[in-house]
């Protein structure tokens, strides 16, 4: 950025030099702009490439039978993922029943009864727990439920999902509660309403949309997890509603079919992926539209 001016008057030569330098700086700036836009385009292109391919391969296979039927034995055409859809739903529902009270309850403690070290410590642990690899969560659920029971079970899968969901629910719930204006709490307390009723009837209803968003986010995250299901829920080719027995889930079916040797399995893996992507992305878009990104604010 330094220009060379040797004397009081600017010589023709140095003026030309300065101009050339300016042109070079402008060129660098243009090149940088092109590079930065190319990065963004690349990211979006990869997303569209992946989603587009899943839709292209999977959407055509979807029909009522695929969504409701049991898998057929190898070699027979047709069959579906009905049991896996139901299995995923059952396991996630049980995980929600375990994780939501725990996560929201802890968030209430952190935000409504600030207690210094304990609160900060718990929030710190929650941050750590979100970073635990999902396969490790699977090992924990195995050691906690499968090993004592001596066989794979749906309930162990639910425990694994709950481990993944609790910190997400806690962190999003804490953010949700933090957004409730303290004037509302103070108004309620000033009217003589006890703290617990203030929380249950003022704070929670006001933040209910944001709370729900966090819960949906946690469900979407859990629904796509495969690694913790490998040695907990394990998968099952039949209908099963017994929580102490192995149960099929959608990601497990995708994994088994994708790594299997049959073309028909690959087709079904794409179709099952299409179903999973639709569910996960719909919930992600849903939460996005409810909870405005912090970036916009």
């Amino acid at each position: 950025m330094s220009m060379t001016t040797d004397t009081v008057g600017i010589s023709r030569k140095s003026l030309a030099g300065a101009r050339a330098q300016f042109q070079a700086r402008k060129l660098t700036d243009h090149v940088a702009t092109v590079f930065l836009s190319a990065c963004a385009v690349l990211c979006v292109a990869v997303l569209l490439l992946i989603l587009g391919y899943v839709v292209y391969r999977g959407a055509g296979y979807i029909n009522w039978q695929f969504l409701t039927a049991l898998p057929k034995p190898v070699g027979e055409a047709g069959g579906g993922v009905g049991n896996a859809l139901v299995g995923s739903a059952v396991i996630v529902t049980i995980a929600v029943l375990m994780a939501v009270p725990l996560g929201v309850g802890a968030a209430i403690f952190l935000n409504e009864f600030p207690s210094g070290v304990l609160g900060r410590g718990i929030r710190f642990l929650a941050d750590i727990l979100t970073g635990v690899p999902s396969i490790v969560v699977g090992l924990v659920a195995y050691g906690l439920v499968v090993a004592p029971m001596r066989h794979f079970s749906a309930i162990s899968g639910a425990v694994a999902y709950a481990f993944i969901m609790v910190p997400i629910v806690l962190i999003t719930a804490q953010e949700a509660l933090r957004l409730v204006p303290s004037t509302l709490r103070e108004a309620s307390l000033a009217l003589g309403v006890p703290r617990w009723r203030t929380i249950m009837q003022v704070v929670i209803p006001v933040s209910s949309r944001a709370l729900l968003t966090g819960i949906i986010l946690a469900i979407a995250r859990a629904l796509g997890e495969t690694a913790p299901m490998l040695f907990t829920a394990f998968g099952n080719p039949y209908w099963n509603f017994d929580l102490t027995k192995p149960m099929a889930t959608l990601p497990l079916v995708i994994y088994r079919y994708a790594t299997g040797p049959y073309n028909d399995w690959h087709e079904q893996a794409w179709a099952a992926s299409f179903v999973l992507v639709v569910v996960v992305l719909l919930s992600s878009i849903l939460t996005r539209s409810v909870l405005r990104n912090k970036f916009d604010a």
Binding site: V44, I122, P194, R195
Partner: protein, 335 residues
């Protein structure tokens, strides 16, 4: 908020209050016993988070116990993994994990950073939010679907690239070994790069947004071009946070399981070339756990999980710390 607490002195405690108080259900400044009960329950839930963490550690250590007793810390430097002779060591998978994660990071950092700068400073205001959404959507795609896509779309492409590299640069030591499988270090690295791009982009973007506007304006006032401003002011200012974002991306990559299992080639050996099939710690657990037939084998796999857990925690703490220092707690890991 805390100051709003109603300051009523308890008059005479009733029986329920005494019993609950004895159990630790107590909250200073409230006379209402239902309030105490409520406080007690919410604290119980909060303490359950601590219990969860302890359970996690206890279960892992208990499961790995047999293997820890047998191999001790030598497990970390052992290069054998032989279920038949009951010899287990995890050095090749640790190295495999780090190698593919660094390949992923190397590919992801320029693109993520470029996208973050573009979204934060270059894109038209109306495009910023949709662009952020789209990039973060990459994070919402389940990893098994990345694996499926990687297996059927990416691996054939990588295979062609590898064959080309082999025929033109085969003399280079990183390009030795058979190139025609497609699955291996390169495929796993590219897969991981795609998967960690959203987290690095999102955090870098927030960190870049935290650069004071006055610094940027000052550069413009001095006649700097936009790129000169980005290069000389924005990036140096945000450096700590960007490094933190990259480290969190690394943490994500290290723990990634399904996609690596599906495109990594799953071979237990020290990698020497980018074409080599590779096992990460997570992919080894995923592919062998249900086939482990005796307790020492299972225990050794859980030991691998424990090592993986330890490495991820250290990496994540480091990343979180850097971002906290830079943004003073405004940017969190979930974003």
């Amino acid at each position: 908020m805390a100051k709003a607490r109603a300051d009523i002195k308890p008059s005479s405690p009733n029986t329920a209050q005494v019993v609950l108080g004895f159990l630790g259900f107590r909250h200073a400044g409230t006379a209402n016993w239902t309030d105490n009960l409520f406080f007690g329950f919410s604290r119980l839930f909060a303490l359950a988070i601590i219990a969860m963490t302890i359970v996690l550690l206890v279960v892992l250590f208990q499961g790995a116990d047999e293997s820890i007793r047998k191999f001790g810390l030598g497990f970390l430097v052992g290069t054998d993994w032989n279920p038949v002779s009951e010899e287990f060591g995890t050095l090749p998978t640790v190295i495999g994990t780090l190698v593919i994660s660094f390949v992923g990071l190397l590919l992801a950092i320029p693109v993520s950073l470029g996208t973050a700068v573009f979204i934060a400073l270059y894109a038209p205001v109306r495009l910023r939010t949709p662009l952020s959404y789209l990039v973060e959507m990459l994070a919402a795609i389940p990893s098994v679907i990345y694996g499926l896509w990687g297996l059927f779309v990416l691996v054939p492409v990588i295979r062609m690239v590898q064959i080309w590299l082999k025929s033109h640069f085969g003399w280079f030591f990183l390009f030795s070994g058979p190139a025609n499988y497609g699955t291996g270090v390169l495929a796993a690295g590219v897969m991981l790069a795609i998967m960690i791009t959203p987290i690095i982009t999102a955090i870098s973007r927030d960190v870049i947004r935290a650069v004071p506007r006055s610094q940027i304006e000052a550069m413009y006032a001095l006649g700097a071009t936009k790129w000169e401003t980005v290069w000389n002011v924005v990036l140096p200012y945000a450096r700590g946070g960007i490094v933190g974002a990259a480290i969190l991306g690394l943490g994500r990559a290290i723990g990634e399981t399904m996609a690596v299992t599906m495109v990594g080639g799953n071979a237990f050996r020290l990698v020497t070339s980018v074409f080599d099939p590779v096992h990460s710690m997570a992919s080894q657990i995923a592919s062998e756990f249900t086939e482990a037939t005796y307790s020492l084998y299972v225990s050794s796999l859980i030991y691998v999980g424990l090592v993986l857990f330890g490495i991820t925690i250290v990496v994540n703490l480091l990343g979180q710390l850097l971002i906290w220092r830079m943004s003073k707690g405004r940017v969190t890991m979930l974003e």
